[in-house]
């Protein structure tokens, strides 16, 4: 799957979980900059991503998700 497609799908998941579009999905974007993306919604986002891409994260992966860029990289490595 192309990186752009992954980004698009992640964006849809974020909009669906957070119920707003008040963010620009760049590689540098971090959860703290997005309204409503806290430690509670984070786990729902993670779970939705797993379902969408049919992948399983490890707890260790969570610590590496420092920003959207890192999250996309981890998803692509799992898909491939």
């Amino acid at each position: 799957m192309q990186r752009n497609n992954i980004v698009e799908k992640v964006k849809e998941i974020l909009i669906s979980v957070l119920e707003h579009e008040g963010f620009e999905l760049t590689d540098d974007l971090v959860a703290a900059d997005v309204s409503g993306w806290d430690s509670l919604t984070h786990m729902i986002i993670i779970s939705s991503i797993e379902e969408e891409f049919k992948i399983k994260f490890k707890l260790k992966d969570l610590n590496k998700m420092r920003n959207i860029g890192a999250l996309i990289d981890i998803i692509s490595s799992k898909i491939s």
Partner: protein
Amino acid sequence: MVFTSLNFLLFFPAVIILFYITPIKYRWVTLLVASYFFYLNIEPVFGLLTAIITLSTYFFTRLIDKVKDDKKKSKFMYINIAVVLMPLFFFKYFTAINDGIFNILEMYEMRWFLPKIHFLLPVGISFYTFMAIGYTIDVYNEEVEAEKNIGIVALFISFFPLILSGPIERAGNMIPQFKSDLKLNHTNFSTGLKLMLWGYFMKLVVADRIAIYVDAVYGNLSHHNGDTILLTSLLYPIQVYADLGGYSLIAIGVSKILGLNVMPNFNRPFFATSMAEFWRRWHMSLITWLTDYVYTPLAFSFRQYRIFGIVLALMVTFALSGIWHGATLNYVVWGLMQGTFLSIEALINKRKSKIENQYGLKSNFFYLIFSVCLTYVLFAVSLVFAYDASFKDALMVFDKIIFKRGSLFLDKTTLAYAFIGVFMLFLSEFRDEYFPKTLLFFNNKVFVIRLVSYLCVALLILWIGVLNGGQFIYFKF
């Protein structure tokens, strides 16, 4: 030796002088020696605990780093967590478990082979145990590398400003600083002294003054009416905040003078407009520790249950936090109350945000005041269970507040002095929260204003501070 003792006021300048005359490369050694001196001075045998925790943590983190197999890494991580938790479990829960078995058997007229034994909890044990666990998990998660110098690990576990009550620091922040060139400089010195001065103000003028009233009422509940108990219950959160917040500022200030940056522990918690926000501002080093090492692994395991998995993870995390505070029903209730508040907020959050946006409530002054007061009252209600009293006493507090009103017990001197302290504290925090760059005193550009401010606060501490007051509340945890 504690921060409010005369011994500390002699010890700390001596450490600064020794630190200054030690070659930069070996300054961490001076800090390590000073830290062990500081801790052994409280009770020599406590040094054994820090030494065992250091040796075990050093050994297992090095092993985690060395082996390639993830199962082995995970095994070593769990072994070290079990080893470092053992002393904490023993000192914290042995008495409760032993007494419990003793009492149950006694009810059936049987004898337990051990007598009732009450061990003294080594002060600070929770805090350095948590730091050692955090470091071990961080090494396992490849967040930090295992430190090769055992002396640096020993210093991380025993660093004297933090050893008694935190902030619960992370290896990723402290170890690189200990290994860097530690220098004394004017800016750090001045910033550190300001933090210490305000920390002493919070502890001696605010916390210990309120403590006189709180202890007089909570210590003798049956003799006081509902109105007096209501005022006490509303004052107690401020006492706890000024106590641990004051301690934390002194610890951060002492570290700053030595050139070390320590994480903040509080961020004006009583201006929070929800319980979730409150817990992002209150005892931040503990709550981020719990989030990273307890809540996140739990929520991750329960993630297929979506919002209900999150609620379960919150409840378990705060129940554990309650049990850590004390092995009593009161603390479990306190923890479960926090978990319940946060779970309700998590469940209604989206609906609440929609209504707030629809009616523009977030910028409405009265709504803001209402939210701040509601958050404060919810926390104050839960804190009734966190005072050192029985569950029956905690229920008596609510019974009296609701049904047994009466005229207020006015200890005028204590309340008047407490009012001055609380007023200054809240005024300063109100300024920092809403007008951060105006009305500066400690950080004013004009030297005379700064000097007068320092003198005023110092004189206020000497004038109305409780200089023979009690210990810090968090020493018992």
